[in-house]
Amino acid sequence: MAATKAPALPASVDATLAMLGGADYVADRSLATAVHLALHLKRPLFLEGEAGVGKTEIAKVLSAALKRKLIRLQCYEGLDVASAVYEWDYARQMIEIRLAEAGNEDREEIESTIFSDRFLIKRPLLQALEPEIEGPPVLLIDELDRTDEPFEAYLLELLSDFQVTIPEIGTIKAAHPPIVVITSNRTREIHDALKRRCFYYWVDYPNAERELEILAKKAPGAAPELSQAVVGFVQKLRKMDLFKLPGIAETIDWTEALMQLDVLELTPNAINDTLGVLLKYQDDIARIQGSEAARLLDQVKAELAAAPRGS
């Protein structure tokens, strides 16, 4: 059974931090504390924050670092039990009935056969309750704020007892609860009843130093000067009153875009050409493009010249 033994859970906050770092995720110690608690007390981890700050990434990293299966449930408005938990395979059930009737089988027997595991299509939430050889899987419930309140209420049972009730079969309970990571962009407030069952963490934009570290790991080909200018510029943008501030994902994308265009040094022109990668609203782009971008860039350059960061 223990042929492919998965790594054990990290024993301390330091070990958790090291594990995340080992999987190329640069985390604050505060985040590592929350992750550590979630892993050891077997409660869901609830991550909130702006888009593109690396919430979803945490689940992926946990899955990779602990060598567990990652099961992802992408939420949307009107998500229902049939697409989140389970559904019966009607077509096969009907064939089975026809065959059974042709063979003159007993009705009771047909009923017990067609409502069995064989005809059950398992969706992410049910899959997450199944035992895996490597250990309980990582269940990522992504962008929970996109669903509606009824689905949230349904999750309450699942997340507190890790069980699902199927009327035709009975209750299915996980022997070992999965590692649950829930993310929300906060387009609406998630009910306290659900949050209460989780460890909460607000994922913030990183500071310049941390963002440079992240960039070094995620876009290793970028020249240090370019990375520093990019991070400086993005940090300046985040202090502005924009409709949608750029996240870390945008910083990485932008750096990669600049590298693709063989930009070695950040210039106003290069910024204007690629601003669409960084800002996603026309108003914001119109505001920054041109003179404002040049002004910010000058500031960034002046600051870099004043305090050169050795790396």
């Binding site: 608690l37 408005e77 009107g78 019966w88 009607y90 009935i97 047909i110 609406r188 909460y200």
Partner: protein, 410 residues
């Protein structure tokens, strides 16, 4: 009922007692901290261990904090409490929150006010409510706002009874939106295979096809109500109106604005209308002052629109459009608001005058961006609103053109 903790050492016992005390402080300060959280906190602290202050902080943070806006409160409470628990006793003894602490100046003010309020719950409403309001006033920094409690008593009893009765009858049948969920429906367009198969097994023989159709649900409703001086004659009525619709359905969000935007949804959820309006009066600082529509809409668009305008929301904007900032930046924000919702309905009390022409700059800036422009000045017009909302929405972009042709940009 509570699970008894196993015999612990004196040290642990003190920690548990302290955590319990800390949880009580947070609860008193308004955070939803139940007894279950204390058990969680003890388990969490035992898991992480107390090695350094930062880990301890983030451990408790993960347990007690549920929302980003609770973070500052938690932060202050943590630092005050775990620095010196004796401090709390001192604070409790203080009547007015004026004491010196070695904290940065601004932090001190904010912390003392909120924690002091938490430690001095005032259950009696009327008299203390007024003093609290004055206290609040002292803490605000703008002299442009006329800070005064709104006087609901002025409404005559007759008027009040009439309005209440009419408003209580009011139902806003904003057209339901189809969701992606299904409900059984004998005349539905889709086959419900699951129900069909179950029915077939029950009866055997001929399979009767069960049907289903999309479930309908009312869209979220967002009310933005102007409470500035020029609207003060109507504000009372509208508050009753907003209270009625807030308690009539789910997903109603209410905001009032004058010189600043205030979310009053939570207060209006109180079933008792007097209690709800008392709470609103306490919470809102800019009654009957000036109007800065553009400024308030910027706030709404930036901080709230993405949270309350999902899922096909309908927006009711109640204002006379008289803007102190003479419409600067208003068109832009109205445009954004219009694009973010399914239907934007402007209710304007000035529209009751025959031959009214929207001449003020603010109005001219707003008008091209609304789907519907309606009078709202008496109970009749509120009832008319019901008929309008229950009719299917006309095609977008046409409504504004009825009053104001050709201004809309392509």
């Amino acid at each position: 009922m509570r699970r008894q903790s196993s015999p612990a050492t004196a040290e642990q016992g003190r920690l548990v007692a302290n955590l319990m005390h800390f949880a009580r402080t947070l609860r008193a300060a308004g955070m939803p901290v139940g007894p279950g959280k204390v058990i969680d906190a003890v388990a969490a602290v035992r898991t992480v261990g107390i090695t350094n202050r930062s880990d301890f902080y983030w451990t408790l943070h993960a347990v007690f904090v549920n929302r980003p806006d609770q973070r500052p409160l938690f932060d202050q409470a943590f630092h005050v409490f775990w620095r010196n628990p004796e401090l709390l006793k001192k604070m409790m003894a203080l009547v007015l929150p004026e004491m010196s602490l070695d904290l940065p100046e601004d932090e001190k003010q904010e912390m003392l006010r909120r924690l002091a309020e938490a430690l001095h719950p005032n259950p009696e409403s009327r008299e203390t409510g007024e003093t609290e309001l004055e206290f609040d006033a002292a803490m605000t920094f703008s002299d442009r706002e006329q800070l005064q409690g709104m006087d609901f008593e002025k409404m005559s009893l007759d008027e009040l009874a009439q309005a209440k009765a009419a408003i209580a009858r009011l139902r806003l049948p904003v057209l339901d939106r189809p969701t992606r969920r299904f409900a059984p429906d004998p005349r539905g367009a889709r086959a419900d295979m699951r129900a069909t198969l179950r029915a077939a097994l029950r009866s055997g023989g001929i399979v009767e096809l069960k049907r289903k159709s999309r479930r309908l649900r009312p869209p979220p409703l967002v009310v933005l109500c102007d409470i500035s001086g020029s609207m003060s004659r109507y504000s009372r009525m509208f508050l009753h109106f907003m209270h009625a619709i807030t308690n009539d359905r789910d997903r109603v969000y209410t905001f009032v604005f004058g010189t600043r935007l205030t979310n009053i949804t939570r207060y209006l959820r109180f079933k008792d209308v007097d209690l709800a309006l008392d709470k609103v009066t306490e919470a809102v600082a800019d009654w009957s002052g000036g109007t800065r529509i553009g400024h308030c809409l910027v706030d709404f668009n930036l901080y709230w629109s993405r949270r309350v305008l999902g899922q096909g929301a309908v927006v009711l904007l109640i204002t006379d459009g008289l803007d102190r900032d003479v419409g600067v930046g208003l068109a832009h924000e109205m445009d954004r608001l219009h694009r973010s919702c399914r239907r934007l309905i402007w209710l304007n009390p000035l529209l009751r005058y025959e031959g009214f022409e929207p001449k003020s700059l603010g109005m001219r800036a707003m008008l091209p961006h609304v789907d519907e422009f309606r009078p709202v000045h008496n109970l009749d017009s509120l009832e008319n609103l019901v008929t309008v909302l229950s009719a299917p929405a006309p095609r977008r972009l046409t409504a504004a053109a009825m009053l104001h042709n050709g201004v809309r940009a392509a």
